[in-house]
Amino acid sequence: MVRLAMIYVGNRETAKDVVQEAWLGVLQGLGRFEGRAALKTWIFSILIHRAKTRGQRENRTIPFSAWSDADPLEPTVDPERFLPSDHPQWARHWSTFPRNWDAIPEEQLLSAETVQVIRQAIDRLEPSQREVITLRDLEGWSSAEVCNVLQIKETNQRVLLHRARAKVRRALESFFDERDLSRPSR
């Protein structure tokens, strides 16, 4: 819950505060809980609402509308990675293949420095993308649960997830390639 609250507020202390507030909200509202939503999504809706309010008060949250004009069709992989569309045989195919990660040991993937790379990449995401990847991939929620809590459409959720994952992958790719941990995929 603290991790989720931190999407919206600046620091861990405030996030803890917000979690506390949210629990209070849950207790106060329990009588009104109609059981239409799963208890989990209801609790998290309260948490997100409180965290957003707090974030806005602290001027941390950028209004989501500010991001909405980001072009959804903008490619998620650097176009330089592909051969030009007028290439006689391999138009828009990889110019250099992505490398293989299968030789990277699990301990390396979950090492403090890799996790740091992931966290930084997630922190740099637009807020709506950060929300979705946090709930889906870090918290392991289903798309239906995420749509429910964030009040967004399934297709929108998927686009946000797609863009978020692509950016985190890119960060990991540069990190592994720099460290020479990946190997050629041919």
């Binding site: 629990w23 106060q28 490619p75 195919h93 990660w101 870090l138 392991g140 797609h162 985190v168």
Partner: protein
């Protein structure tokens, strides 16, 4: 993206369909094209595997600091709330 296109996918198209593929939301026709491309393209197979490995990794990251009072906090909130109710 044109869903009714036929013929071989380009790698640059495949990477933009990858989330739909993983979510299982590609229409059957697109799914076939996606998988056909994979059978012949080591680069896209590597890309897909990177994605899968990354997603597994994200799921395995735990909150960096589980406070020792993780349960104590809601309990205290509850006690305070009960007290206020009286």
């Amino acid at each position: 993206m044109d869903k009714m296109k036929t013929g071989e996918l380009a790698c640059q198209e495949l990477v933009e369909l990858i989330t739909e593929y993983l979510e299982g939301t590609l229409v059957p026709n697109e799914r076939v094209r996606f998988e056909q491309h994979l059978t012949t393209c080591a680069g896209c197979r590597a890309y897909l595997e990177q994605m899968r490995r990354m997603i597994r990794t994200l799921g395995a990251i735990t909150e960096e600091e589980i406070p020792e009072d993780a349960l104590e906090q809601p309990l205290q909130t509850f006690r305070g709330w009960k007290h206020d109710q009286k």
